[in-house]
Assembly symmetry: C2
Homo-oligomer: 435 residues x 2
C-alpha cells in the first residue's frame, strides 16, 4: 500500500511524551495558581463566527487569521483569549458575578510568517479581572503577585516584573503637544533597546518634533534608579497635565500594593519604556523578563483596559489581565536547557509478573492504584530482561517482581531502579509504604 | 457605536463558570485515572495537513470535516484522536517505548447536521495501548477496568460495560458463506434494538441469504443469559470456523481477566450484538451503558484493532483503545439532572477587608494561599453588604472579615456562610485550621 508520510505542520508543537509530561506540569502549576487566587475557569470554542471574532480586529491581526467557510458560514479560529472573553462577558453579563475573575488556558492560532521558535498554534494562559463600571486599582497589584507565584513555582528567582502606566506616556505627549503623534512616537520609543538612543532621537527629529519636546521624551524614558527613585524623579518633572498626574498616582498605588502582596523588591521594577499594545491598554502595563535570558523577550505581559467589550455591549467593563504564552516559553526554556524533561513515565511503579497466574499481580496493581499510586502492570509475554528494559527506558522508579518463587512464599520483590536495591516483602504487608 | 451581537456558534458548547467547574472536575477524574494506570500524555495539533489527516478517511467522515486552505496549504481540523495517534506513533516510532500507553484529552470537530445534544466541537478522552508487532490480550481486559474506575468515581453504580469480539461475527459469516456480505449484515443487525427482530429477518431475506443462514445469525445474536451462559452457548454452537474459535477463546480470556481486574459481575456483560465500526475493529469491542439511562447510548466505546497506522508505516502496530465523549456525556447528564453544577467558585474563602490599611488582609491572603487554601480577597470599594452579596452569589463557603475593630485587637472574624456561625480568631493563630 502507498504510504502517506506521517508529518506535523511546521509551527505546530507536538512533543514526545517526556516533554509532554513536563509541559503538563508547567500548565498545572499555572492552573493551580490561578485557582489559588480564586479565578474561575471558562472554556470558549476555538471556532467562532468571523463577524463576532473580528468585530474589533484589523490590519496585521486580520491577515494572520485562520478564516474559512463551512457551508455558508464564515468562521475563524480564535487568535487570542481576550476577544472570546469579551464576547463571553457581554453574552453572559446577567449570569456573572462582578468583579468577574476568570482564567482560560487554551490553544490560539496565528498564521505568522514561519520562523524558528515561532508557533502558529500555541497555548495562552490568561487571567483577567473584569469590573462592572468600576474596578479598584488594587487588582492591578494582585495580578503581578499571581505572576510572581507562578515563576517562583517554576523554580526561577532572577526575574523581574516590569511595570508602567500608559497614562504617564499619554500625559507627557499631551504636555508637549504631541498627542496626535502618540502612536508613532511610542512605536519609535519601543525600539530603543534595539536601535539605541541616538537612532531614536534621529527618528523623532524626522517627525518634526521640537528639540525641547524630544528632550522631554528622552529625559522621561531615561529616568533610572530603583522603583522609588523613578517615582520620585517623575514627581520632580513637575508635569501639570492631569492624565500624567493620575498615571503617577496610579503607579505609586500599584507599587505600594505590590509590596503588600509580598513581591520582593528584586522581582519587580518600574520601567517607563514599556508601552505594550498601542490602542488597547489605558493604565497599568506589565512585562516579565527572566534577567539571565533577556533574549526570550517578555514571558508574561498584560495590563489595564478601560472597556473590555465595547464592540458587543454598552455596559462599561473595565478590566486588568495578564497572559503567559506557554508554548513559546516552554520551547525557549527547553532550548536553553533551563528545564529538563527527565520524567519519562507518570507511573510510580511497574509490576512485572513472572508467573502463570496473574491474579496476584493484578490484585496488587488494583490495590496500589486505589491507594493513589500510579501503577502499571507489564501484561505482555516477554522475557524478564525485556520487561526490565521497558522499566529502564521509561525510568520508572520502582519495579515489583512477582515470580513463581515469590508467589509460593506469598511475597513480592521490590526493586529500586535507581539504587538497584532489592527487598522481599510480604504480599499482605502495606506495600505502598515501601514504595 | 454599532454593536456586534455577542453569540456563540450552535453546536459549540460554552458553559457558565459553575458548569465549567463541574466539567473540569469530570475531566480531571478521567485524566487522573488514566495517569493512575500509567498512561502517558500526548497533545497533537488540532490543525493538520488534510493529506495526512484524511489518508484513510472517506465517505461520511470526509463530508463532516472542517477543511480549508491557508495560503496554498490544504488543512483540516482533526475529527478524532485516533488518526492523530496513528500519525504520532508512525512518526515517532523510534522514540517510543512499546507497549506505548498514551492518553489524549482534547477537542475534535465534526460538522454534523445540527440536532439538540449534538456537538460540532467536543472533547474526546482517549486511551490506547499500542504494541510493536504483538500486544497481549490481557490489555483488552485492562481497559474496561479503567472505564469501571472512572464511572465509579463519577458516582455511578448501575452501568454495564458490554463486551464482544468481532472475530465471532466474522467467523460466523464465513461459516454460513456470507463473508462478502459481512458489512451489510452487520449494518442490519445493528438495528435490531430499533426495528425489532422480524424487521431484521425481513431485511436479511431481501439479501437472498438462505433461511438456514438467517436462523444461524438470529440464534447467534439471540444468545441470552449471564456472561458465562453466553460463552457456554457459543461453545455449544459447535462452529468449526477457525476465526470463530479464536474469537471465542479471546472473549473467554478477556472475561476471565476482567474479573481478575476486579470488575464486579453487574458492571460487565458479554453482548453479542455489539459490532462497532465496520472495518476498523478486529477483536474485542466495548460499549458502556448507564442502565437507567439507555437513551444516552454508549458513553464509552472502543476495541481492538490489528494495525493502527497502516496508512503511514509498514510497521505492524496492533492496539486496543477506548474513548469517552465527554462533551456529550456532560450535556446529557446535566440535562437529566444526574450531575449538579452546584460549585460556583473555586475559592475556599473570601477575605473581606473593612479597613483602610489593607496590609493585614493581603498578608493573610498570601499566607492562606501558601498553605494550599484557595483564597480570594475582595479588593473593590463597596459597602459590607455588597461584599457579602458577592460571597453569597458565588457560594464561597467561608468569609473572613477584617474591620478596624478586629485590626485593633489583632483578630479576624471567620463566618461560615452555610451555618451563619461567626468566630473571632487571633490573627496569628493557625487560621487555616479554623477553615
Amino acid at each position: 500500500m502507498a504510504k502517506t508520510e506521517p508529518r506535523t505542520l511546521a509551527g505546530f508543537m507536538e512533543l514526545l511524551p517526556n516533554e509532554q509530561i513536563l509541559f503538563e506540569q508547567m500548565k498545572q502549576i499555572i492552573e493551580n495558581t490561578y485557582k489559588k487566587f480564586g479565578f474561575l475557569p471558562i472554556d470558549t470554542p476555538i471556532v467562532e463566527l468571523s463577524e463576532v471574532l473580528l468585530a474589533k480586529a484589523g490590519g496585521e491581526t486580520e491577515k494572520q487569521i485562520y478564516r474559512f467557510e463551512k457551508g455558508d458560514t464564515d468562521l475563524s479560529l480564535r487568535f487570542d483569549l481576550t476577544v472570546p472573553l469579551a464576547k463571553y462577558v457581554a453574552k453572559n453579563y446577567g449570569n456573572l458575578s462582578f468583579p468577574f475573575r476568570r482564567y482560560q488556558i487554551g490553544k490560539v492560532y496565528r498564521g505568522e510568517r514561519m520562523q524558528k521558535g515561532r508557533f502558529r498554534e500555541f497555548y495562552q494562559c490568561d487571567i483577567d479581572i473584569i469590573g462592572d463600571e468600576k474596578l479598584s486599582l488594587i487588582n492591578d497589584a494582585e495580578l503581578p503577585s499571581v505572576i510572581y507565584t507562578i515563576f517562583k513555582e517554576f523554580g526561577f528567582d532572577n526575574f523581574t516584573i516590569r511595570i508602567n502606566n500608559r497614562k504617564l506616556l499619554n500625559g507627557l505627549f499631551s504636555e508637549i503637544g504631541q498627542k496626535d503623534n502618540a502612536t508613532e512616537i511610542l512605536r519609535i520609543i519601543d525600539k530603543i533597546d534595539k536601535i539605541g538612543k541616538e537612532a531614536v532621537i534621529e527618528e523623532l527629529k524626522k517627525m518634526e518634533i521640537s528639540k525641547d519636546a524630544i528632550e522631554k521624551i528622552i529625559s522621561f524614558i531615561e529616568i533610572a534608579g530603583t522603583s522609588d527613585e523613578k517615582l520620585q524623579k517623575l514627581e520632580e518633572l513637575q508635569i501639570q497635565n492631569d492624565e500624567f498626574k493620575l498615571g503617577l498616582y496610579e503607579l505609586n498605588e500599584v507599587v505600594k500594593y505590590m509590596r503588600l502582596f509580598g513581591i520582593p523588591e528584586h522581582n519587580f521594577n518600574v520601567d517607563l519604556t514599556i508601552a505594550r499594545g498601542l490602542d488597547y491598554y489605558t493604565g497599568t502595563v506589565y512585562e516579565t523578563f527572566l534577567n539571565d535570558y533577556r533574549e526570550l523577550g517578555s514571558v508574561c505581559s498584560g495590563g489595564r483596559y478601560e472597556n473590555l467589550a465595547g464592540y458587543y455591549t454598552d455596559k462599561k467593563l473595565p478590566g486588568v489581565g495578564v497572559s503567559i504564552g506557554l508554548t513559546r516559553l516552554f520551547y525557549k526554556l527547553n532550548e536553553l536547557n533551563l528545564i529538563k524533561a527527565n520524567k519519562k513515565s507518570v507511573s510510580d511503579v511497574l509490576i512485572i509478573p513472572m508467573c502463570e497466574d496473574l491474579s496476584k499481580p493484578i490484585e496488587l496493581a488494583t490495590k496500589l492504584r486505589s491507594e493513589g499510586i500510579n501503577t502499571e502492570i507489564y501484561l505482555n509475554d516477554k522475557k524478564l530482561k525485556a520487561k526490565f528494559k521497558y522499566a529502564d527506558k521509561l525510568e520508572i522508579p520502582k519495579v515489583i517482581i512477582i515470580g513463581e518463587d515469590e508467589l509460593k512464599e506469598n511475597k513480592v520483590k521490590i526493586k529500586n531502579m535507581k539504587t538497584g536495591e532489592e527487598e522481599l516483602v510480604d504480599f499482605d504487608e502495606k506495600i505502598h509504604i515501601k514504595l
